[in-house]
Every structure is written in structure tokens, then in C-alpha cells.
């Protein structure tokens, strides 16, 4: 009650302020000028390199006839399936393994810490050298993988990048290889922020192993896990490097994702509008995800 009356009391006073004073807030004289001046660089970057390209892109992709062209393209239809599979498998496998591994890395002992140092290497290595190496490793004739398969098991491995599903699977695995350490480290940080008292209390109540995970760790991590899933989905929807370097979209353009197909249409086919239309077709999925994510981050105050 008291707070409500305080707000009512303060209300008219605020309304009586002139518009100019309202805009300046509590800042005096030259301070307001400084505050605005400090914002100018970012506003400049945002307007010139975010707002302008976004509206330019929307304008480029605004002709409806572009979309009939896009949707009737068989390569695009394949690409749509690829993108859905890539995102679904990529996000869920990656985060599920990251959740399990973050639990593993909570174990005490020097060798687990040492292992963590090795495990984060793929994340420390730039994306491109790693992916180029995997690309060559998967070569059917001269690649390390098939050499090793033949050497150790006497199996003639398939040529990984010459069939659509093997190539797409390879791309998903490569992506997991590169990004699993990153998500594991985040979930590890999430687990470390759980106070040990909670675990001690659970131990007294007899919860160990799987039951501890199901009733203590996971409920506390669930929110973080959900936010990470949303974030990973958004990032993967726009993923370019993985497929570009692992499969190059091949064989016969059968493993493109929306981002790589967009670039191919815009530059290899020299049809930028078509490329923009391909990319824009992801918006019906992207926009709801962004809205859910923003609300989630705002409302739950989750510590990413």
C-alpha cells in the first residue's frame, strides 16, 4: 500500500516536467551532451551496418515472385530438409553431450582438469583450419579416417563426402567436434554455480547418482539448458562455415544449408535477390525463436 501511494504521490511531479527535462533525465548541463556523444559511435554502427542492411535486404527480398522461384527450386527443397535435420541433430546432440560431459568434468582430480585442457582445443583452434583438416581427413581415397579404418579393422571405408546423407552426417559431426567444448564449458560454469550445500542436503536425503541428477542438478540447470537450446538453434540456422568447408554443398548441391545456398545463389549464380529470398525464408522460424529467447532472458534473469 505504502509503495503504491508513493508512486501516486510522485506521479504528477514527473508529469509536470517539461519534455526536455524528461529526455535529459537526471543529467545536468554538459553531462547530457557527453552522454549522447558517448552513444554516437554505437548508434552510428547500428544504423549504418545493422539497420541499413536489414532494410536493404527486406527491400531486395520483397518481390513475391522471388519466392515462387525459390520454392519451386528442387535444390532449395533439399536445402530446407538439410537445414531442419542439421539444426535438429546439431543442437540436440551437441547440448545433450555437453550436459553429460559437464557432469563428467565436475569430477575431482588433476587428470580430469588436464583432460579438459585437451578437450577445449578444437574451440581454441580457428574454425577454418580445423574444418579444412576434417575435409581432407574424410577424403575417400587418401584421407586419414579411411586409412585408419583399413589399417586397424581391414574395412574399406566409404567416400564420406560423396553421398548426401554421409556428407550431411559428417558436417553435423564436424560441427559438434568444433563446438562441443564451448557449450560444455558454459554448462560446466552453470553446474559450478550450484551451491554445494544443495548437494550435501541431497546426499543426506539419500539422493546419489542418477537420482541426484534428475532431482537436483537438472531442475537447476533446466532453465539454462532451454536458453542455450534456443540460442544454439538461432546460431545454427545461420551456420555457414561448417557445410561450406566440410562438404562445399556437394555432392551435386545436395547438402546445402540456407546460409550456404543463399551465398551460392547470390554470388555463384550472380542473383543477389534470389539469395536474399532464400535466406529470408528462414525468418518465419527465426523471428519467433528470437522473441521467445528475448522474453526468456528478460523474465528469468538467467545467468548465461
Amino acid at each position: 500500500m505504502t509503495t503504491a501511494s508513493a508512486i501516486e504521490f510522485g506521479g504528477p511531479a514527473v508529469r509536470r516536467q517539461s519534455l526536455w527535462r524528461y529526455w535529459r533525465g537526471g543529467l545536468r548541463g554538459s553531462e547530457f551532451t557527453w552522454a549522447v556523444a558517448f552513444l554516437v559511435p554505437y548508434i552510428g554502427v547500428f544504423v549504418a551496418f545493422v539497420a541499413y542492411p536489414v532494410f536493404y535486404g527486406l527491400w531486395m527480398g520483397s518481390k513475391p515472385s522471388l519466392y515462387t522461384e525459390v520454392f519451386s527450386d528442387p535444390i532449395y527443397q533439399q536445402t530446407l530438409v538439410n537445414t531442419v535435420l542439421f539444426v535438429a541433430f546439431g543442437v540436440n546432440l551437441k547440448l545433450f553431450f555437453a550436459l553429460l560431459l559437464s557432469g563428467f568434468f565436475m569430477r575431482p582430480g588433476w587428470w580430469v582438469k588436464g583432460l579438459l585442457m585437451i578437450f577445449v582445443l578444437p574451440w581454441a583452434v580457428p574454425e577454418l583450419p580445423g574444418f579444412i583438416s576434417i575435409h581432407w581427413m574424410l577424403n575417400g581415397e587418401w584421407g586419414l579416417l579411411n586409412n585408419a579404418l583399413f589399417h586397424f579393422f581391414g574395412i574399406d571405408g566409404p567416400s564420406w563426402l560423396n553421398s548426401r546423407w554421409l556428407a550431411l552426417g559428417s558436417a553435423v559431426c564436424s560441427h559438434i567436434w568444433r563446438w562441443l567444448p564451448f557449450w560444455t564449458v558454459i554448462l560446466l560454469a552453470g553446474r559450478m554455480s550450484i551451491p554445494t550445500e544443495i548437494y550435501d542436503a541431497a546426499k543426506v536425503d539419500g539422493a546419489t547418482g542418477l537420482r541426484r541428477f534428475a532431482h537436483v542438478s537438472f531442475p537447476l540447470l533446466a532453465n539454462l539448458y532451454l536458453v542455450l537450446t534456443l540460442l544454439a538453434t538461432i546460431f545454427l540456422l545461420g551456420n555457414f562455415n561448417t557445410v561450406f568447408f566440410i562438404t562445399g554443398g556437394g555432392p551435386a548441391n545436395s547438402t546445402h544449408l540456407l546460409a550456404t545456398l543463399g551465398i551460392r545463389d547470390a554470388f555463384d549464380l550472380a542473383n543477389p535477390r534470389l539469395g536474399v529470398a532464400v535466406v529470408m525464408s528462414a525468418l518465419p522460424l527465426l523471428i519467433p525463436l528470437v522473441i521467445i529467447l528475448m522474453r526468456r532472458v528478460k523474465n528469468t534473469e538467467v545467468q548465461l
Partner: protein, 304 residues
């Protein structure tokens, strides 16, 4: 087992359940250690295979690249020497291109830190009214996939005649890295009491003095975390560099490297040696600032 239980007298039967529990616990600990060891081996193999492949191919001699082997028969470090002395036609501008990469990465770091800290200073410390619009715009930029804006961005840069100009790439990377910086600075800055600014203000300090003398020194840990992130982001970026830099003298190492990926005569040993040299600075940076970076990740947000 049965004989042992038969031998135990009635006096020891009282301790038997406790003993059995102890034995079960020991067995459980043993099984979990074996499981952890197996998992560790799997993780090490999984993590290191592509990196081993990189090193292995780099040490392969000229004629042996297209042959079956798990370790090159005539291993030599000659490829590294060729790369460092620019002794192959596609490597003729290697150091120049390396310099371009360094220039772009350092400018990106500097700009991201400057723009990000100025923006958060104005919004969080000077509390300019409606500052939330700026931070929300930044959050929104953070979740727009960079690859989706590449086509309009490329056309705009063409329009401005900034093709083959490193500043176009710097602008692109700064655009997508600054939101993360704002995010982290915002979170970190909450722990610095506003009273510090207030008292300096009462003593007559101008906003610019408060920014340099109070805000920046207290923000050093966050600046280091974000600076490392920006450096690595610039070093990792490929798509915009590939689109915007096509001239041999203006391109960066990853662009030069990827040019040869799909050609039939790709000199794999030189490419891998280049890749390793290119990967070394970020690996060193990463391990040097690892703890700062992971604390940065838990502070604010995530972006690859």
C-alpha cells in the same frame, strides 16, 4: 563367496550389511573409474584426430601426400619452411596476408572495446533516459545470424567502393561483436557501485574524467575478457573476409587458404602448415586468457 559368508560367525553378522554396502560402494567406485577412463580415451581420440591429421599432413613430404599412411614415411618440416619463406606460388603474399589478419584483428579489438565501453558508460553509469532502447537493439543484433546479412552488406560496401578495403571487414566484425561486449560490460558494471561516480561528480569531475579515471580501471577484467573474445572472433571470421576481400594483396590468410580447398592440385601439406601457423596465435591467446574468458562467458552471454 558362499563359503566366506558361511564362515562368519554370529558376532560378525551385525556388521555385515555395512560391510556389504562398503563393498558395493567400492565396486561402484571402481566401475565408475573404469568408465571415466574409457570415456577419457574416447574424448582424447575424438578431440585430437583432426588435429593430428593437420600435423601429420603438414609434415608429409611433397610426393607422399597422395599415399596411404598413418604417419608420413619421410616426415620433414620442410612445408613450414616453405610457408615461412613464401616459397610457393600461392604463398607469395603470406606475410602480407598475415599482416592483414593482424591489422583487422587488432582494429576490431580496439573498436569493440571503445564503442562497447562508451555505450555502457552512457547507459549504465550516466543513466541516460531510454538507454534500454540501445541495449535492446544490441541484444537483437546479437541474435541475427551474421551470414543472413552478408548479401546486403556486400552490396552496400560495393556501393561505397569499400570492396577490397580492410575497413569494410572491420566494420562487419565490429557490428557483430559489439553487442556481446555491451552485454558483458552491462553485467560486469553492475558490481561497481554508482556512488563512486556520484562522489567524483560532486568533486567536479567531468564525465570524460570519470570514464577514464574510474570506469575503465575498474572494468579491466571485463575489458580483458571481451578483448580476447573480439580478437578471436576476428581471427575466426571467414564469410565477410571471403566476400569483401578478393585481391591477393588485400586478402587475409583464411581467404587465401580456402581458395585452394576445392582445386584438384591443392598442395595439402603446405595448406596444413599454413593452417597450423595461422592457428598458433589464437591457441596461445586462448590458453593465456582462458580463465578470464570463461568467467566472461558466465557473466554475460555467449557467442561463438
Amino acid at each position: 563367496m558362499s563359503t566366506i559368508t558361511a564362515d562368519t560367525g554370529p558376532a560378525r553378522s551385525a556388521t555385515r550389511p555395512a560391510e556389504r554396502m562398503q563393498r558395493a560402494a567400492r565396486r561402484w567406485r571402481y566401475a565408475s573409474n573404469v568408465g571415466a577412463a574409457i570415456l577419457s580415451v574416447v574424448l582424447v581420440v575424438w578431440t585430437l584426430t583432426p588435429l593430428y591429421n593437420m600435423v601429420m599432413v603438414a609434415f608429409t613430404a611433397e610426393g607422399d601426400v597422395f599415399s596411404d599412411h598413418l604417419w608420413p614415411p619421410n616426415a620433414s618440416g620442410n612445408s613450414f619452411w616453405i610457408v615461412l619463406t613464401q616459397g610457393y606460388w600461392y604463398l607469395e603474399y603470406f606475410w602480407h596476408q598475415f599482416g592483414n589478419s593482424v591489422f583487422i584483428a587488432s582494429m576490431v579489438t580496439l573498436l569493440v572495446l571503445t564503442i562497447g565501453s562508451l555505450t555502457t558508460f552512457s547507459v549504465m553509469r550516466m543513466r541516460i533516459r531510454n538507454g534500454w532502447v540501445i541495449t535492446n537493439a544490441a541484444l537483437l543484433t546479437y541474435v541475427i545470424p551474421a551470414s543472413f546479412l552478408a548479401i546486403p552488406f556486400y552490396l552496400i560496401m560495393q556501393h561505397y567502393g569499400l570492396h577490397n578495403n580492410p575497413w569494410s571487414v572491420i566494420a562487419a566484425i565490429v557490428t557483430f561483436a559489439t553487442p556481446y561486449a555491451i552485454f558483458i560490460f552491462q553485467e560486469y558494471g553492475r558490481s561497481i557501485p554508482l556512488e563512486l561516480d556520484e562522489s567524483a561528480r560532486i568533486d567536479g569531475a567531468s564525465p570524460i574524467q570519470i570514464y577514464f579515471r574510474i570506469y575503465l580501471p575498474l572494468m579491466v577484467p571485463a575489458l580483458v575478457a571481451v578483448g580476447t573474445f573480439a580478437l578471436l572472433a576476428a581471427w575466426n571470421e571467414y564469410l565477410y573476409q571471403f566476400l569483401l576481400l578478393s585481391n591477393k594483396r588485400s586478402m587475409t590468410v583464411p581467404v587465401a587458404l580456402a581458395q585452394f580447398l576445392n582445386s584438384d592440385v591443392a598442395p595439402w601439406n603446405y595448406m596444413m602448415a599454413t593452417a597450423i601457423i595461422y592457428a598458433l596465435p589464437p591457441i596461445a591467446t586462448y590458453y593465456a586468457f582462458r580463465n578470464r574468458m570463461s568467467s566472461g562467458l558466465t557473466m554475460g552471454g555467449v557467442k561463438g
